[in-house]
Amino acid sequence: MIKSNDRISPYQLAMIVIMAVIGAGAFHFINDAVMAGGNNSWLILILYGFVNIAAAWILITLSKRFPEKSFPEYIQEIIGVIPGKIVTIIFVGYLLIIISFEIREFTEVAKMFLLPRTPTEIIMLTLILTCVYVVRGGVECVSRVVEVLFPLLFIPFFLILLPGIGTVDLTNIFPVFRHMGSGTVKMLPQMPHAFRGTELLLFYIGFMKKPQKAYKPVTIGLMFVTFFYAVIILLSMGMFGVKGTTREIWPLISYIRNIQSPGLFMERLEGVALSLWVMTVYSTIVLGYFASSYSISKVVGTKEHRQYVLPLVIVIFYIALQPAGLAQLYDWGNLMYKYISSIFIYVLPLILLAIAALRKRGIKDYEKA
């Protein structure tokens, strides 16, 4: 029998990076970014994109030391079994909160524009259960579904953005480079906000056959993400100006709402755009969801991750119901996205790499091994 391979190809890794990073937050992120960085936010963001690629490389270097092992397995090797399990559990908690906020944020947007009268619980529960189906299939299914969704999502999405370009006034980006320094400092917390999801690489590189090949796809993936953010910031700024952009909670949706695609079967596309956006929310959730159920199975020490998937529904659902409203969600979200996630993306891998190097754990040079 031909075995199901629980392996990820480099191409799939690139898709995983893109889909994990771009999530429901991209709607509101533009507002935050322009608020902090003003005219230059897109430039600063590109800058931070490259910084983030460097950070991702640290992460890959760490994972590379432990081929065919993912985070919950090798952390026990690096810092010992019990501390490793504790860190893993904290990580899982973080992931679950991130997923739940993702779901909640999307639900609020969907309630605003698509289904104003449908109960929040229904929208959330249907979304979570749809994710469960794929998460139970294991890493093979998760990576494949992400791979298939990428073209299904981005090709139509860019097509939707296209008709608005005529109304965009790109001179709104001027004056460039002015107050760049202060903007860069102000936008620093936006970096983990924009690139949150990179930390999932800790898990997924472990499923690669040749982890040393991860550099290229991760770089390409993160460059795509940077490019995507830069484009949507430019478009929103072009249409609303800097002040107008900061007025909108979800500038991108407002952008799509403002354009009319003339002569088409569909005239106003924000419903379609939001429905497409379900896909990226879905894949972000699926990726985090799988990582957390997999980690739990490693902490408990079972071979399968499946039995943890369904009980997690209740946890995620419960956390997602906690924020009282959009304002609280964004307050809590800021804390999570900007500060706590930076620990997991930047600080933790660095510390682990240092400890691993000091304690000589893992393989130093993969090629020689």
Binding site: M1, I2, K3, S4, S9, Y11, Q12, A110, L114, L115, T118, I122, I123, T126, L127, T130, Y133, V134, G137, C141, R144, V145, E147, V148, L149, L264, F265, M266, E267, R268, L269, G271, V272, L274, S275, L276, V278, M279, Y282
Partner: protein, 536 residues
């Protein structure tokens, strides 16, 4: 112990002695046989004597109707009864020697086989061969004389083409293998035969090209076929259900075809073809989603129109899947999406319709499916009447009575036409069912529900595998070079590799197009490689 248990036991232990043994006495043998075949009135026992002295007793046993009588007359009866008398025989007195003489010297039939037990004899008789019993030896001669009234090779009804060969598989196993063999004259084209079904003993053949098909897949097919333990296999559909990866999936992941050219093309791509006796449909494994959108014509016509048509087919698939659901989602949930004028005319058309759009769509879709189901099994003459009734019910009457809106009729019509443009019937059926699920999802959560449904279907499809090949490849485990024969169909001379990436011998052709306009190059290459010319 009956025939089946003995046969099964022999098969399992590999010990032929488990089967009912013959004796040297003709009388005993025939008695035993008659017991086994009691009340089988179509079995004929022809007793005759051979030799100048008429001292050698023979019995020829066969099933009436299954054998070619003129052939038996000519090649068996004639030879033994007339010829043996005309030429003064030096017939050996030793019966064993006589048997050798008959086996090798007297019977001009093409297929002869010695069998040594009665169970095999019974099977041979019932398969359509004649068995010659001879007094004094325990061995029997099976004479291949199959000849029953069968359908001749004709154009396949379900997969007709505008351009392309018109022959189709028939119900006769041997014809089908011949139709494939005629297309691929390669010694590496293998046919493994086995018999499945305790009572039906149906012939099943696995065909593959040894150095193209992955051995694991061939072995897996064989292994799965051997697991089948059923009384009878009447059609290849039986086999399909027993060996497919996920029988609970809506999507077919084994392709069946009536066209030998399609089967041959699949073999050349490195797939395995399963032929089942009594069925004009052969099974092809492994297949992927895109195979169901390909028609065999795609390679017989020029690539530009075919690429456009492929796009159209995928688009039709999409329409047939989501058109009614989209109508519901847009009209009842998000009318803002449509242009104002269109919204107003839809609203005007729906004025006075008593049902919500969801019910309206369900009514129309169910009516349509009813008409379709009723029409399928009716004779052609009455089928036309169904069409007329359907046209009246769906079209005019329902609209005039104000039960449905005219726009809904258009939607249903477009959906129907689109679903007929999917080349594979089994696959179109999957879409029929999914369409209803989409309608319900759209009626529940609008566009959001539709996307969730889409994600569920997608999640299911990425899990699905056909004999180890991901169903959605080449879209999953993406490699750009595999996209050449999926949604577009690039010119054949660019398809250097076989589309199935498990193929062992990956290269299917060498692109020599550049030689067409470069006479020098083509000359020098033909000088160098005379052998390649032979192949052409």
């Amino acid at each position: 112990m009956g025939v089946f248990t003995r046969r099964k036991a022999a098969e399992e232990t590999g010990d032929e002695k488990q089967k009912l043994a013959t004796t040297k006495s003709l009388e005993e043998n025939i008695d035993m046989l008659k017991k086994l075949l009691a009340d089988c009135n179509d079995v004929v026992y022809k007793e005759f004597r051979v030799g100048v002295d008429q001292d050698n007793d023979f019995v020829l046993v066969f099933t009436d109707g299954l054998i070619d009588k003129s052939f038996i007359n000519e090649a068996v009866m004639g030879e033994l009864m007339i010829h043996a008398r005309e030429v003064p025989p030096e017939a050996p007195k030793d019966k064993e020697k006589l048997f050798e003489l008959v086996r090798y010297g007297c019977l001009p039939a093409l297929e002869l086989k010695v069998i040594e037990n009665l169970d095999d004899a019974v099977l041979a008789i019932l398969t359509g061969d004649a068995v010659l019993f001879m007094d004094g030896v325990s061995k029997l001669i099976e004479i291949g004389a199959k000849g029953w009234p069968g359908r001749s090779v004709s154009e396949p009804a379900t997969e007709s083409v505008v351009k392309g060969p018109r022959d189709g598989f028939t119900e006769t196993f041997r014809f089908n293998t011949a139709l494939i063999r005629r297309r691929i004259r390669d010694p590496k084209l293998k046919l493994k035969q086995m018999q499945v079904g305790r009572r039906s003993c149906t012939n099943i053949g696995i065909m593959y090209i040894e150095d193209i098909a992955l051995k694991e897949i061939v072995d897996e097919v064989e292994r799965r076929l051997k697991t089948i333990d059923i009384d009878g296999i009447l059609e290849s559909g039986y086999v399909e259900e027993f060996i497919e990866d996920n029988p609970f999936s809506l999507f077919p992941h084994i392709k069946s075809t009536e066209r030998p050219d399609k089967a041959a093309a699949s073999l050349l791509e490195g797939r395995v073809v399963i032929l089942v006796d009594n069925s004009p449909f052969v099974l092809i494994v492994p297949v992927v989603l895109t195979s169901f959108f390909q028609a065999s014509e795609d390679f017989y016509m020029r690539w530009i129109p075919i690429t456009v048509l492929r796009f159209l087919r995928y688009f039709a698939g999409l329409i047939s899947l989501i058109a009614p659901a989209l109508y519901i989602a847009v009209t009842s949930f998000h009318p803002g999406i449509l242009p104002t004028q269109l919204v107003l005319s839809i609203a005007a058309a729906r004025e006075g319709v008593p049902f919500p759009a969801l019910i309206e769509a369900l009514i129309m879709e169910v009516t349509f499916e009813l008409l379709r189901e009723a029409g399928v099994r009716l004779p052609v003459l009455i089928g036309g009447i169904v069409g007329i009734v359907g046209g009246l019910v769906i079209g005019q009457a329902a609209v005039e009575a104000g039960i449905v809106s005219p726009i809904m009729v258009i939607i249903v019509a477009i959906t129907a036409i689109s679903s007929f443009s999917i080349p594979d019937y089994a696959f179109a059926n999957a879409f029929r069912i999914l369409r209803f699920l989409f309608i319900i999802a759209a009626g529940f959560l609008g566009l959001y529900g539709m996307v969730l449904m889409l994600l569920l279907v997608l999640g299911h499809m990425v899990k699905l595998k056909s004999f180890g090949i991901p169903y959605l490849s080449p879209f999953v485990s993406f490699t750009a070079s595999d996209m050449k024969d999926t949604i577009p169909r690039v010119p054949m001379f660019y398809m250097r590799n076989r589309p199935l990436n498990t193929a062992v011998d990956k290269i299917r052709m060498i692109n020599n197009r550049h030689m067409i306009n470069n006479i020098e190059a083509s000359k020098s290459s033909s000088d160098k490689g005379g052998k390649t010319d032979d192949k052409k």
